[in-house]
């Protein structure tokens, strides 16, 4: 037997042992989970609300399965991931039917109380429903082209509505705010306050400094993305300043992202301790 084959067999044996240990630990964890669940949220208890208890146990189990990804990607995680997508879609479909399609489309057309009501509904709903069905043409490769008519209307109408509103809200109003005169940012009551007093610092110096930083940052970042002139000498310095502003902005975004992700973890831990294990914090 060659050295290679022997090494492969040793590796395969180690992998099998590791897999057996992992399955054993998983089985123990599952048993421990059910024991703890039954102790803290017993659905068979005469005072318990079985629906709520089972819901909590399922939610806690799925939370642990999702956290198992931190150890390694695994089939349970994949199953839970697919379950999440499926449940979300199923829930959205039921709500869409119950809240919208049934009362606003199905009932007026198929459960109209009078012929006049049916005619009126047909008049109002025929075009939108037909366009909706055209969109479903995407399902078929052969007949997918019919959806283009619905998309053409969607895009044309959407762009027509969006362009003036977006221009006003995201360009004109932002430009107005960016070029605001300095006297507009200061607190007029603080103008008479002695220099370097708290009122002056908060009402005058702070806002003016902030406005100047915003102005310098806007110009520097815009210049960084202005490629029509070569960034040399002064241009290079302004461009580098723009990079610094961008880096600070990315750092702030990253910090907020870390905070957001930790908030989600805190939410899950609070659920596991407070609701599943029923441990009340003070």
């Amino acid at each position: 037997m060659s050295d290679h084959t022997q090494a492969d067999e040793i590796q395969a044996g180690a992998a099998r042992r590791r897999q057996a240990i992992e399955i054993g630990v998983l089985a123990l964890l599952v048993v421990a989970f059910f024991i703890v669940s039954l102790l803290r949220q017993n659905p068979f208890d005469k005072d318990a609300d079985p629906t709520k208890a089972i819901g909590l146990i399922v939610a806690a189990g799925l939370t642990f399965i999702m956290f198992s990804f931190l150890y390694r990607d695994n089939p349970l995680f994949k199953a839970a991931e697919h379950l999440y997508v499926g449940v979300s879609l199923g829930y959205a479909a039921v709500i869409s039917w119950r809240e919208f399609l049934r009362p606003l489309v199905y009932q007026p057309l198929f459960e109209a109380p009078t012929a006049a009501a049916f005619k009126s509904s047909l008049l109002h709903l025929a075009v939108p429903v037909a366009l909706g069905f055209l969109l479903m043409g995407r399902i078929s490769r052969k007949h997918g082209w019919v959806s283009r008519y619905a998309y053409a209307i969607l895009i044309g109408w959407g762009a027509g509505v969006a362009i003036p509103l977006i221009t006003n809200s995201f360009i004109l109003q932002q430009l107005t705010a960016a070029i605001k005169p300095l006297q507009d940012v200061v607190n007029e009551q603080a103008l008479g306050a002695p220099w370097f007093s708290r009122a002056w610092l908060v009402g005058v110096a702070g806002p003016v400094f902030g406005a100047l930083v915003a102005m310098i940052g806007t110009v520097a970042v815009l210049f960084y993305f202005f490629f029509s002139v070569e960034h040399k000498k002064v241009g290079s310095a302004v461009s580098k300043l723009g990079i610094w502003f961008l880096m600070v902005s990315f750092g702030a975004s990253f910090g907020f992202t870390v905070m957001g992700r930790l908030s989600l973890l805190i939410g899950r831990v609070n659920f596991l301790l407070g609701e599943w294990l029923n441990i009340q914090n003070k």
Partner: protein
Amino acid sequence: MRTSQNRPQHYELIRRIIYVGIALAVILSYFIDYRQKFTPSPESKKVFDKVESLSPGDHLLISIDYDPSSEAELYPMCLSLLRHCFKKGVIPVVMTPWPGSVGIAKKGCDEAAEDANSMFGKKVVSGKDYAFLGFRPGATNLILKMVDNLKGAFDKDYYGQPTQGMEALAGVNSLKDIKLLVDLAAMGTVEWWIAYGADRADIPMATGTTAVMTPDLYPFYQSNQLIGFLGGLRGAADYEKLLEIPGRGERGMLAQSATHVLIILLILGANIHMFAGRFGRKNEGLS
């Protein structure tokens, strides 16, 4: 020895130690009976002050643009806002343009209504003291319709009651009759509500968003298109502190701080390790 991803094998161990450290910081914080002191941010205070300035009978519209995956950050905000409205007699009008958000929106309304009874001794009833309009599709089209005719966009509420003649919506014909619009969002809907709703109807708007989205709100705050905003769990904690009703937001602040300190220490430790290694290699090269 390096793994298939070309990383030293002990990195896997270090990665897991970091996870355990973060988990321990969060779990231990849950058991510590200590309320962290903090000052609410000016952005959060402006939202609170605006709601506080509303008169009983005024309408505040809350759009629930998040699903259960963002519950940890946004649900405490929703609860605090609704409690504040019920405390002051302001009428909240709650709706969602997302089918997946209906359940969590209803949960918020039900819980806050129960709290109004237990906390303020007020019996709050749907259709009279608040309106839960449920879901309608259309996204931006829905907002455009609401600006022109709110009751046309929602002809019935979630419970099937006609909005025409509903006591809670008396005097509200369009979005223009709303005194404050609040978008609680985990998706990119803040821009929709600004452009298609608040700017067009010319009404004040505030938001509560996940921390990830918060940095993008500052330009709108600076241009006064937003009167203020609640950013992430910290924003929720701010509002709870201002309302003086502690909740999940305030409780989460200690865990948040503990994990931040841990992350800062880890960054410092990793940098010291890197520079020490570099310095050691340099010295070895010299000798």
